[in-house]
């Protein structure tokens, strides 16, 4: 038996286990660029239209959000509009897939079951990388073909597909290394995810300030590969080189460590337990605090960077109609800076909702892992148990939105010398997102109460909401479809008038969904595997 024996069988198993999940990812990632391009072709049919819109996109604030616009063409515009989103999502898909088939398998002990059969030492890692590699190859090919079919130039289409696939493979390699560090799959994903978020911020800062910073960021490289704008193929070498380093590190660590062990040693806890650990809420705090802290830091940093970048929008000599139109569509119609900030906080709300969903689903994880059984055999009732986790989903989201708002206020306020005033304004802009995130919390609770095996659909609801809000207008969907998402009803602050009615509606819907879910949970069998 050599160290790779069994790789093929493991890879086949991974495809079998993930067939639905991966298919959805591949199709979603492949369709987005094609749809965007098709849409731009009809929106800006002439060279003059293109010139008009492109002139305004060199604006620093938009550059911070999506990167610089390199090429004056439909292709260039498409790559700019969808590029960063695509890169982040493909990175996320890759790192989650690799961790799921390496560290998660190890943590749950399933790998041991497999390891006892004929499986080489490097087989699980190789299989995970192989699967993720094939998926990224499929994504890259479909993107290139789709863009080509829309009528865009071949070289650029290939370059954009390549850039997406390379970002995916790089984060697969990064996740392969991070999965060797910790014993917990959750921590491994968190580390790789933090790297991904960090590269986005680094690029945002670099693209608006010292350019070399964006050259430190893989999401930056993907843009610097310049699809449709004089492709620089050599940038691909950066991905290959750095990816190879991470892969080598991962393999070296696998060789060195025991199955189940991490490189970061587990410390022993204290011989006494804290007297405060005496309620379901205290337990929930222990289970949620790491996640909450990580998200709070991440959103605060993003808020600060974007707040700082917002001041740049005023640099524009003559604010022109085209930019105003774009930003109005994204964020409301009272002044460019406010529109930009409103757009940023709209996005922040949706990102924060990812935490909300994650926190709600902890409830379900506690159940499916079987841990809840011992807890519910004490006088703690199910509703109290559920409430302890809901507290973190609901108030935790408030906390991280507040952090983003305050940090954004600091970042922007420092530029315009009005820290106090801006903190207040942007804190408001962040917190108005809260009721919309609560609707997702309510939806998640309803799933857990009524259809626990399908709780993961809470993620689907979030992704669908984001796609509808972000791309609905672009794809010309009717307003009522877009209105079905909670985020479509959030007042666009700062700038627009604050209206309380939609907030109350959203809160009421969230409460109703939550109540239905809790009633279901109260009645049904626990645990449902």
């Amino acid at each position: 038996m050599n160290s790779l024996t069994g790789t093929r069988a493991l890879a086949r198993l991974a495809f079998r286990l993930d067939r639905v999940r991966l298919t959805v990812w591949v199709l979603g990632l492949a369709v987005m660029p094609m749809g965007t391009a098709a849409n731009y072709l009809s929106l800006y049919p002439t060279e003059a239209d293109l010139r008009a819109v492109s002139a305004v996109l060199s604006n620093p604030s938009l550059v911070a959000l999506s990167g610089p616009l390199f090429g004056l063409s439909i292709g260039g515009l498409t790559a700019w509009k969808i590029g960063v989103t695509e890169f982040i999502l493909v990175g996320l898909m890759s790192l989650l897939t690799v961790v799921r088939h390496t560290r998660t398998e190890e943590e749950t002990g399933r790998l041991e079951l497999i390891g006892a059969t004929v499986v080489g030492r490097y087989a699980p890692l190789t299989a995970a990388l192989l699967v993720t590699g094939l998926v990224n190859l499929a994504i890259a090919a479909l993107i290139a073909l789709g863009l080509l079919a829309t009528g865009l130039p071949a070289a650029g289409s290939l370059a954009f597909g390549l850039a997406t696939g390379l970002v995916g493979m790089l984060f697969a390699a990064i996740a392969a290394a991070s999965a060797q560090l910790t014993q917990s799959a959750r921590a491994a994903s968190a580390i790789a995810g933090a790297v991904l978020g960090g590269t986005y911020l680094l690029r945002a800062v670099g693209d608006t300030g010292p350019t070399w910073l964006s050259w430190l960021s893989p999401t930056g490289w993907a843009l610097h590969l310049r699809p449709y704008a004089g492709e620089r193929w050599w940038v691909a070498g950066l991905f290959v080189g750095v990816g190879a380093v991470f892969a080598v590190v991962a393999y070296a660590l696998v060789a060195r460590r025991d199955v189940g062990a991490g490189l970061l040693r587990e410390r022993l806890g204290s011989a006494e337990s804290s007297p405060a650990l005496r309620s379901p809420l205290a337990l929930a705090w222990r289970l949620h605090r790491g996640l909450l802290l990580g998200w709070t830091i991440g959103l605060a940093l993003t808020g600060a960077v974007m707040g700082g970048a917002a001041a740049g929008i005023g640099d524009l000599q003559s604010p022109n109609q085209q930019l105003t139109d774009i930003l109005t569509r994204m964020g409301g119609n009272n002044g460019l800076t406010d529109a930009f900030l409103a757009a940023i906080f709209g996005i922040t709300g949706m990102v924060a909702a990812a935490y909300t969903v994650q926190a709600i689903l902890r409830l379900r994880q506690e159940e499916s892992s079987g841990r809840v059984e011992a807890l519910l055999a004490t006088p703690v009732g199910r509703l109290r148990w559920a409430a302890s986790h809901l507290t973190f989903a609901l108030l935790g989201t408030a906390l991280l939105l507040a952090a983003a708002g305050i940090a954004g206020g600091l970042g922007y306020g420092m530029q315009v010398h009005d820290i106090g005033g801006q903190i207040g304004r942007l804190l408001g802009a962040a917190l108005v997102q809260l009721p919309a995130t609560w609707v997702l919390a309510g939806f998640g609770t309803a799933l857990i109460g009524l259809a626990p095996r399908f709780s993961a659909l809470a993620w689907a609801a979030l992704i669908l909401s984001v796609l509808l809000v972000e791309l609905g207008a672009l794809f010309g969907l009717s307003q009522w479809i877009v209105d079905a998402t909670p985020f479509a009803h959030v007042p666009k602050l700062p700038g627009s008038a604050f209206t309380v009615t939609p907030m109350l509606w959203l809160t009421a819907i969230a409460l109703a969904l939550g109540a239905v879910g809790l009633a279901g949970l109260h009645r049904r069998d626990v645990p449902v595997a």
Binding site: L268, A282, L283, L287, T378, P379, V380, D525
Partner: protein, 307 residues
């Protein structure tokens, strides 16, 4: 109150699976009650219904005089539970889990906890994910045993313990037995453990109780194998009630006899004259195998298990 647990005609289905099919179970206050049955017989399901986690389709269950679901909070103050599959929170240390569960139950005896930690030789400072299967089980056991409760519900609590720890467990349960009014429901596959600890046992199969009573009662219902050397030929042995599988070989007769018919059979043999006699009482394994094995249990009259 003389019954800590009373279950009557309990039915529970999971989709097409009929996990419990009219189960009866009665556990007297103050006894250690063994709960046995092959894999998938419905032991854990019964226990989960008793804890109010699952809802029965029909039938009734009473626990410490209350309704498992309606009175869950009060009842759970008076009981402690060790699940069959112990999973711990990966980032909580053993002592934190023990203290948390104890405090939620309304307090635990710290002295008793430390004594148990020592006896079970458990390092309580490790994080949940760092414990081996047996050690996870010890964490749950210490958490349950350190609380002062009326009822202990233990679902295969020793399936991961080494023989040394198994012995500690037996001692601890025996001590519990000494304390008045403490009831233990012990689901187990370890027959020696059941024999050593249980006052009464219930065997279930396919969601139904097939046997209940003391071990002595059950032994009585089984057969003893006899090998006897006789002074002369014997007649009419195989027509005596309760005698099975008679084989004669050079003056040595081998047969099985229902324990209840032993007396009459031996009287019959002494009329011929006994030269030598070996008898083998039914082993516990035989007793259980008879109930566990579907094909044998369904056969009537029962034939002896040969190994």
């Amino acid at each position: 109150m003389t019954e800590a647990i009373h279950v009557d005609a309990l039915v529970k289905t999971f989709g097409p699976t009929r996990a419990l099919d009219g189960l009866d179970l009665s556990v007297r206050t103050g006894e250690v009650h063994g709960f046995l049955g092959p894999n998938g017989a419905g032991k854990s399901t019964t226990i989960r219904i008793l804890l109010g986690l699952l809802r029965a389709d029909s039938g009734s269950a009473r626990l410490l005089g209350g309704d498992p679901r309606r009175d869950a909070a009060e009842l759970h103050r008076r009981l402690a539970y060790v699940p069959g599959d112990v999973t711990l929170w990966p980032n909580l240390s053993g002592i934190e889990v023990i203290d948390l569960l104890g405090r939620l139950r309304g307090g635990l005896n710290a002295k008793r906890r430390d004594e148990l930690l020592e006896r079970f030789d458990l390092d309580p400072r490790k994080k949940g994910r760092a414990y081996s299967k047996g050690n996870r089980q010890k964490v749950a056991l210490v958490a349950a045993l350190a609380s002062d409760v009326d009822l202990l519900i233990l679902d295969e609590p020793t399936s991961g313990l080494d023989p040394l720890m198994e012995e500690v467990f037996r001692q601890v349960i025996r001590e519990e037995q000494q304390r008045d009014g403490r009831t233990v429901l012990l689901s187990s596959h370890i027959l020696a453990e059941v024999e050593a600890l249980c006052d009464r046992i219930t065997i279930i199969r396919d969601g139904r109780a097939v046997e209940t009573g003391t071990l002595a009662d059950m032994r009585h219902l089984t057969r003893t194998s006899i090998e006897v050397g006789l002074a002369g030929p014997v007649t009419g042995l195989d027509t005596l009630p309760g005698v099975h599988d008679v084989q004669t070989h050079n003056g040595t007769v081998r047969f099985d006899v229902d324990t209840s018919a032993l007396d009459a059979v031996l009287r019959h043999l002494t009329t011929v004259g006994i030269l030598s006699l070996t008898s083998q009482p039914p082993t516990l394994e035989e007793l259980f195998l008879r109930h566990y094995d579907r094909t044998q249990a369904d056969e009537k009259p029962q034939t002896r298990v040969t190994r």
